[in-house]
């Protein structure tokens, strides 16, 4: 039985150990963006997971009586 961990990529399921893994963070005043990048031996991106955390949106409603 082959229990080598596999991961789904643009080339189907491949051994996760055959890929290089990198992460990137981008943090702004509006969101946090976290990306996981998997590359094959040639450096080609075969899988990329994107995660977004948004800080929301605001509005102001004023009351006035003159």
């Amino acid at each position: 039985m082959n229990d080598e961990p596999l991961i789904h990529t643009t080339r189907g399921n491949v051994p996760v150990a055959s890929l290089s893994h990198a992460v990137e963070w981008r943090i702004t005043d509006q969101l946090i963006h976290f990306t996981e990048i998997y590359r094959d031996a040639d450096g080609v991106i075969v899988r990329q997971d994107a995660h977004v955390y948004s800080f929301g949106a605001s509005a102001k409603i004023d009351a006035s009586l003159e």
Binding site: T10, H33, Q48, D49, A57, A59
Partner: protein, 162 residues
């Protein structure tokens, strides 16, 4: 074209007109593709009666700016967007806050998105409550696309009205 984080003017008018967005309605978060041609900001009104990735984008129609099978590998992401649950309207000190639970991650996707539109899909035209700018392109390749939502708070909630 531009996409700017904002609570829409339409939503403000709906609130003041008591045309409420009910807790029992269905709310969705629709990703806007990279390279979109429409403009999304406070003036955005709706996503359109039908969200299927077709039609010329305008303030009342997202049309071809939606993530669809013609521009992406959809995986488990639906063309009408992430369905949101956990409607929560609260008052945080003097700020009215509207929040939802984070949707399940879309898997098996190849998507390039620059922002998202929060809209009410129960209403016939899919009125937009808010626009969210990602500040650049966020891409997935044969992988997961996950949206996390902020915690409830006067300075953090998804929609805040002071």
């Amino acid at each position: 074209m531009a996409l700017t984080t904002a609570v829409t003017n339409q939503f403000k008018a709906d609130l003041l007109g008591m045309a409420v967005h009910a807790a029992g309605n269905t709310y969705k978060l629709l990703l806007v593709k990279s390279g979109h041609t429409g403009t999304y900001n406070a003036s955005t009104v709706s996503v359109g009666a039908t969200v299927d990735g077709t039609g010329t984008p305008s303030t009342t129609l997202v049309g071809t700016d939606a993530i669809s099978a013609s521009n992406s590998t959809m995986g488990t992401y639906g063309v009408t967007g992430f369905t949101l649950s956990g409607f929560s309207a609260t008052l945080q000190t003097s700020t009215g806050c509207l929040d939802f639970s984070a949707p399940a991650a879309a898997t098996g996707t190849t998507i390039s998105a620059v922002g998202a539109l929060l809209y009410n899909s129960t209403q016939a035209t899919g009125k937009v409550l808010a626009c969210y700018d990602f500040g650049g392109t966020i891409a997935s390749t044969a992988g997961n696309f996950t949206i996390s939502v902020p915690s409830v708070g006067a300075s953090t909630s998804m929609i805040r009205i002071a």
